[in-house]
C-alpha cells in the first residue's frame, strides 16, 4: 500500500481519545456494518487481519478516503480530530493501543454487568 506511514496519530495511546472514538463509533453508526468490531457487512476490526494496513495513517486513509467494496469515504464529513479518535479506537479493538488506555466498559448492551471482569 502506498499510504503514508510517516505521520503519527496525535491521539496514540490517549485514553480520552479512545473513549471518544468508542462513542463516535456507535454514534456515527460504524457499527451498522462492522457491528461492535466483530464484523458483518463490513470486515471485523478486532482480529489481526488488516486488508488495508493497521498503521494509524492507513486506518485514517481507510476512513477518510473509503475502500472498495462498500466502505464509504468520510473525509470532509467527519472533522480530522474525530477521525483520529476513531483511528485510536479501531486500533484498540485488536490490541494495538496500550491496554491501560482502553475503556473496560463497552457502550453497547452486555450480557454481563459492566463491573464484572471479561
Amino acid at each position: 500500500m502506498g499510504a503514508p506511514t510517516a505521520f503519527n496519530n496525535p491521539y496514540e495511546g490517549n485514553a480520552y481519545a479512545i473513549s471518544q472514538g468508542q462513542r463516535l463509533f456507535e454514534q456515527y453508526n460504524c457499527s451498522g456494518c462492522h457491528f461492535h468490531g466483530g464484523g458483518g457487512i463490513g470486515p471485523p476490526l478486532m482480529d489481526s487481519e488488516w486488508i488495508y494496513g493497521n498503521s494509524p495513517a492507513q486506518v485514517y486513509a481507510s476512513i477518510t478516503e473509503g475502500r472498495p467494496n462498500g466502505m464509504p469515504s468520510f473525509g470532509g464529513h467527519i472533522p480530522a480530530e474525530q477521525v483520529w479518535q476513531l483511528v485510536s479506537y479501531v486500533r484498540s479493538l485488536s490490541g494495538l493501543e496500550p491496554p491501560a488506555t482502553v475503556s473496560p466498559r463497552a457502550d453497547e448492551m452486555q450480557a454481563r454487568r459492566a463491573e464484572e471482569p471479561k
Partner: protein
C-alpha cells in the same frame, strides 16, 4: 467574557443587549431575560434562579418548609447558646456539691425535658417534611394531564421534547423550556449518558436524571416569568455551564410559541442564507444536528430548526447573537473545553454564510 449568558447576571454598563428580532414570535418574557435588569438579583432573594422566590405551587411548598426549618433551627440555636452561657455563669456561683440529691433530681428533670423537646421538634419537622413531599408529589395527579415535557440530559446540554401523538406536532428544542402558567405540567426526565439533575429552583426542587430510567414530576407555574435552571449533579467538565432557560408564559403566548415551533424551518431567502444552508448540509454539522424540512436529521446534538428563537447558546452559557454564534460554530471547544461539538474548519465566508442561515431559522 462579554456575552456569556451567565452575565444574565449583572451586565457591564454600556454593553450592548442583543434584541430579539422583529420577525420573531412575540415573547416579551424572552426579551426580559436579555434586558440589563434581568437576573440582577440572581443570587439574592427574588432572583431568577432562587428557591427563595417561588413561582409555583411546589416551589412555594418547599419555600414554606425551608422557612419552618430555618426558624426552628434559629430558635434551637439561640436557646442552646443561651443555656450554654447560663451554665457558664451559674457554674461560678455554684456552692452545693454536685452529688447533692437535690441537684441530681433537678438535673434529671432538666435533661429529660430537653430530650423530650428535642424529640418532639425533630418529629414535627419530619411530619412537616413528609407533608410537603406529599403535597408536591400529588399535585396534578387528578388534574387533566394536558402538557408533557420530556427532558433528556446530555454532556452538557438539555434536550427538550414536547411529545404528541401526531408526529408532525412533536416539538424538539434545547436548553429552553416553555410552559403555560396555571396548569400542572408533567416532566419525564432521563439521560443519554451520565447522571444529571434538573434544578429549576423557582419552580421545583432537584430531580435526578438517571440512565435507563425515566423520572417523573409535576410542576405548575403560578405567574409568568423567565427563570434559570441548572444541572445540580456533577456530570463532568462543563457541569457548571449546563444551564437552561425556563419561560413561563400565559396559555395564549404558550400556544402561539407552540404553533410556531411546530412549523418546519423557514427556507433560506437571501443568497447568503442559501449558501449557508448548502454549507451547513455539506459540512460535518449534519452529523449531529437536525433542521426540520432539510436533509439534516441527526439527533446527537441540539435540534436547530428554530435556533434563532432561543435566547442562549451552549446550554445557557452564551447569549444567542451573531458574534457568539460565529465563535461557537468555528471553535466550540475553545469556548467550552470538553464540549462534544468539534472545532470546524471553515473559511470566513462559510462562517458568515452559515451564521446567516442559522440566524434565519426563526
Amino acid at each position: 467574557m462579554n456575552g456569556r449568558a451567565h452575565s444574565l447576571l449583572p451586565r457591564r454598563a454600556g454593553e450592548k443587549v442583543p434584541q430579539a428580532d422583529e420577525g420573531a414570535p412575540p415573547h416579551p418574557a424572552l426579551r426580559a431575560t436579555l434586558s440589563p435588569q434581568a437576573g440582577r438579583g440572581l443570587l439574592v432573594v427574588g432572583g431568577i434562579q432562587s428557591a427563595l422566590n417561588p413561582a409555583g405551587v411546589q416551589a412555594a411548598s418547599i419555600h414554606s418548609l425551608w422557612h419552618v426549618f430555618l426558624w426552628v433551627s434559629v430558635a434551637v440555636y439561640v436557646i442552646t447558646v443561651a443555656f450554654f452561657f447560663l451554665a457558664l455563669i451559674k457554674a461560678h456561683r455554684r456552692t452545693a456539691p454536685l452529688d447533692d440529691p437535690g441537684t441530681e433530681r433537678r438535673m434529671t428533670i432538666a435533661v429529660s425535658t430537653g430530650a423530650v423537646i428535642t424529640a418532639v421538634t425533630l418529629i414535627s419537622l419530619l411530619v412537616a417534611d413528609v407533608a410537603t413531599g406529599h403535597t408536591i408529589g400529588t399535585l396534578g395527579r387528578n388534574g387533566a394531564k394536558k402538557i408533557e415535557i420530556e427532558v433528556t440530559g446530555h454532556q452538557w446540554w438539555w434536550e427538550v421534547t414536547y411529545p404528541n401523538a401526531e408526529s408532525d406536532k412533536i416539538i424538539k428544542t434545547a436548553n429552553e423550556i416553555h410552559i403555560p402558567t396555571g396548569q400542572p405540567i408533567l416532566f419525564r426526565v432521563t439521560t443519554r449518558d451520565v447522571i444529571h439533575s434538573l434544578w429549576m429552583p423557582n419552580l421545583h426542587g432537584k430531580r435526578d436524571l438517571i440512565p435507563g430510567r425515566v423520572n417523573k414530576f409535576w410542576i405548575e407555574a403560578d405567574r409568568a416569568g423567565v427563570f434559570r435552571g441548572q444541572c445540580a449533579e456533577y456530570c463532568g467538565m462543563q457541569h457548571a455551564n449546563m444551564a437552561l432557560v425556563v419561560v413561563a408564559e400565559s396559555p395564549s403566548d404558550f400556544s402561539r410559541w407552540q404553533e410556531h415551533q411546530r412549523t418546519p424551518a423557514p427556507d433560506p431567502q437571501t443568497p447568503e442564507q442559501k449558501r449557508g444552508q448548502q454549507a451547513f448540509l455539506s459540512l460535518p454539522c449534519v452529523n449531529c444536528h437536525a433542521v426540520t424540512g432539510t436533509d439534516a436529521y441527526a439527533t446527537l446534538g441540539p435540534d436547530l430548526t428554530h435556533i434563532a428563537t432561543r435566547t442562549t447558546l451552549a446550554a445557557g452559557e452564551l447569549i444567542n447573537n451573531k458574534g457568539n454564534l460565529s465563535g461557537w460554530i468555528s471553535n466550540a471547544p475553545s469556548i467550552k473545553p470538553g464540549v462534544q461539538m468539534p472545532a470546524n474548519v471553515m473559511d470566513a465566508q462559510q462562517v458568515n454564510d452559515v451564521v446567516a442561515y442559522l440566524e434565519s431559522l426563526r
